[in-house]
């Protein structure tokens, strides 16, 4: 009863919001067509929108509508409005993991014909894979992201190549009484799923089958779980690992207590504010688990076009501009997000802003995509719940539990925690 009532309230609030945005859209658009873009708060995105509006030359006018800061809030607002067939949303900025869900529900349009070939032309393959579901392209990659291994060169002269090497180096530093902690993301949230996905794929394991309909969690995945347990129970792990997200990990590293950090490239830009720390702050490719190069989980944002838009042609055109090479370069330099168009990495300005760009590119070539299934939200919730806290993992038993709960989630039979 409580929930139904709240649901009704939410729908009411949603309706009020739609009315409000339509009003503002009419006000600012004035003449001609308005393309409403819904994206999280990106600092310099308005500049990109302004550039594209100039290029559109009056054919349409792009309006930037800011979504909540948290990923869950963004997804909830979008799916709630899409479920209500709201036609005031045209272009949506989606996290790479949402493509399958929205495509399967019939809420976003397929990219086809010349728009498709323009998106694919010169774009890195892994980001394109994240926008593809059942062989069709549903999104245009805007930015991408992969984690690297960050380390203190004053404590660690040569970075470790393997996972076990990293842990033993850190443990010997701790044993010598030096700052040797390893920091990363172990809280019960998406970051833990990213770490798990990296370790399972790097061990050669599989979580779901190709179609995303069957839970596999094979023996190689058990090895991935064992690697995660080894890290979480190591003497060198950050004591608050089981509650740590990206930023606490970064801050602990910057405070000088840690020697190794598994994190996204944004930590490089942040470190430059502390020159003393930054001069010894180096990066290396993610350590391998099985001996082959690690298959690091890819993140990022894709643009999709809503199925309920009343201006599909203008929306696709706007997407091409918003994720074009010029826009991506601006976003990479100003907002620090790695581009998805290969040629942008070769721009001269990128050398200063992205000294680690070659390692990012190399990692991207061999990156892994999180399970592609419409039930991703459920899959992710199940994984982070069962793996939390990571120190309590019992590899074989945890794998069996995961397999069963994931299958339930895929069949929309299970209860989400």
């Amino acid at each position: 009863m409580g929930a139904t009532r709240r649901y009704r309230l939410a729908v009411g609030a949603g309706a009020a919001m739609i009315a409000a945005t339509t009003l503002t859209a009419c006000g600012s658009g004035g003449q001609g067509i308005t393309v409403n873009v819904y994206k999280y708060n990106q600092e310099n995105f308005q500049a990109i929108v302004d550039n594209c509006n100039t290029k559109a030359n009056g054919r349409y006018h792009i309006v930037y509508n800011k979504l909540p800061r948290e990923a869950d809030g963004q997804r909830e607002q979008m799916v709630r409005r899409l479920a209500a067939e709201d036609d005031s949303m045209d272009v949506l900025a989606l996290d790479v993991t949402w493509t399958a869900e929205l495509a399967k529900a019939g809420w976003i349009k397929e990219f086809s014909g010349s728009v498709k070939s323009q998106v694919e032309n010169g774009t890195l393959q892994t980001p394109l894979d994240t926008a593809t579901y059942e062989g069709k392209l549903y999104g245009a990659p805007d930015n991408t992201n992969v984690q690297l291994l960050w380390y203190r060169s004053d404590l660690v002269p040569t970075p470790p190549k393997t996972w076990d090497e990293m842990i033993s180096m850190a443990e010997s530093l701790v044993a010598q009484g030096k700052p040797g902690l390893i920091v990363g993301q172990g809280k019960q949230y998406e970051g833990l799923v990213v770490l798990f996905n990296t370790l399972v794929n790097s061990s050669g394991g599989t979580i779901l089958d190709e179609n995303g309909t069957k839970a596999i969690v094979d023996d190689k995945a058990v090895q991935g779980l064992a690697a995660l347990k080894k890290l979480a129970t190591s003497k060198a792990i950050d004591p608050s690992f089981s509650n740590s997200t990206e930023d606490p990990a970064r801050l602990l590293m910057e405070s000088g207590k840690a020697a190794f950090e598994l994190n996204w490239p944004y930590v490089y830009a942040a470190a430059q504010k502390k020159p003393d720390f930054a001069k010894n702050f180096k990066w290396a490719p993610y350590p391998t688990v099985s001996g082959d190069a690690a298959k690091v989980t890819v993140g990022g944002i894709n643009y999709a076009v809503s199925s309920y838009t009343t201006h599909p042609d203008e929306s696709f055109d706007a997407v091409l501009c918003l994720r074009g090479a010029e826009s991506q370069k601006l976003a990479a330099l100003k907002d620090g997000v790695p581009p998805t168009i290969r040629s942008v990495y070769d721009e001269p300005e990128m050398v200063d802003a992205y000294p680690m760009k070659d390692d990012i590119l190399k990692t991207l070539e061999n990156a892994s995509v999180r399970p592609r299934t419409p039930a991703y939200q459920n899959v992710s919730t199940v994984i982070s719940t069962i793996l939390s806290p990571p120190a309590n993992i019992d590899p074989q038993k945890t794998a069996d539990e995961l397999r069963q709960e994931l299958q339930n989630a895929l069949d929309s039979k299970g209860v989400l925690p």
């Binding site: 009863m1 929930a3 649901y7 529900a105 949230y189 989400l416």
Partner: protein
């Protein structure tokens, strides 16, 4: 709360039955009554349409596999969703958390609310100021209050966390539940106090004076005279607060969002319905919450003899 009103209409509908049997109504009275029904029919029909249909719709949804992510898999599965939910350990965990939160917060609120009501009732100087200031927590929007609690308990931004050693209390199950209870108690004790104060006003001063004359002490007067007389008010306050506490959502949503095993039943329903887009399972949970709330109301009204608000409570004691 709409549930309490449903009980109310039922209870008031009961009352006129008795007199009607005793004496047949005159023609004029009958016509007047018919006109009365006709006049309130439009409002009643609208009410039923806007409350009845969503309830019926969620019952229908709860009997289907209905997942917005898989629109082509929609089918009638009757009670399978109920089997799934009732055999899920997440559901029973949430029920346990909800029951514990309800019992603890309502019990503490009753004690604190009663003390506050007595203070407000007895105050001679500055009565208005005392009453107004004690109502401030109830006047603050729950989400805003919950955010300030969250920041207060977060190490490095919060004074409470720092004062207690800087441990992240919201990241562990029991401490997090204690913080949620504290926020809930702080927020709704004034409401409890207000309802109880209305009950205190019913206690005749003469009776208390007579008891004092007979040699009853302050505690005896409170237990033997005041409490029995205000029992209907206490039960109504308990009923209201129990129904509200059982559906706890906003405080939890802001403070922990249900992590570390702190999900209440409403939180779990929200996660399945809005986040998971699984309308079948989510509606099943809504229906189950509805049934549990109905059971609570039933127990209070039939077993404890709580007078339904609005009905005549004279004959019930």
């Amino acid at each position: 709360m709409s549930h309490a009103t449903a009980e109310k209409t039922e209870a008031t509908a009961d009352e006129p039955v008795a007199p009607r049997k005793k004496a047949a109504l005159s023609e004029g009275k009958k016509a007047e009554r018919r006109l009365g029904w006709l006049l309130c029919a439009p409002a009643a029909i609208t009410m039923i349409a806007v409350t009845g249909w969503p309830i019926l719709y969620s019952i229908l949804l709860s009997m289907q596999r209905f997942d917005l992510k898989f629109p082509d898999r929609t089918e009638w599965i009757w009670f399978d969703n109920y089997v799934t939910v009732l055999s899920s350990k997440y559901w029973w965990d949430a029920v346990l958390v909800t029951v514990v939160l309800t019992v603890v917060t309502v019990a503490v609120e009753l004690v604190l609310g009663m003390s506050l009501a007595l203070i407000m009732h007895r105050t001679l100087v500055g009565r208005g100021i005392v009453r107004t200031s004690s109502l401030i927590p109830y006047g603050i929007v729950t989400v805003v209050a919950a955010f300030s609690w969250r920041f207060a308990w977060t190490p490095s931004t919060g004074y409470l966390a720092e004062a207690l050693g800087g441990d992240p209390v919201l990241t562990e199950r029991i401490p997090a539940l204690m913080v949620v209870s504290l926020a809930e108690i702080w927020k709704t004790t004034p409401f409890m106090a207000l309802l109880l104060m209305a009950g205190l006003a019913l206690v005749p001063d003469d009776l208390l004076k007579a008891a004092a004359m007979d040699g009853a002490g302050a505690w005896q007067r409170f237990i033997k005279v005041t409490v029995p007389i205000m029992k209907p008010a206490i039960l109504v306050a308990l009923l209201f607060r129990t129904l509200d506490a059982f559906r706890i959502f906003d405080n939890l949503f802001v403070l922990t969002a249900g992590s570390q095993g702190t999900s209440s039943v409403s939180m779990l329903t929200y996660n399945n319905l809005i986040k998971g887009l699984n309308l079948g399972i989510g509606s099943t949970m809504s229906v189950l919450i509805f049934l549990m709330v109905a059971a609570i109301a039933f127990i209070f009204i039939k077993l404890f003899g709580t007078a339904a608000p609005g009905s005549d409570n004279g004959g019930r004691r």
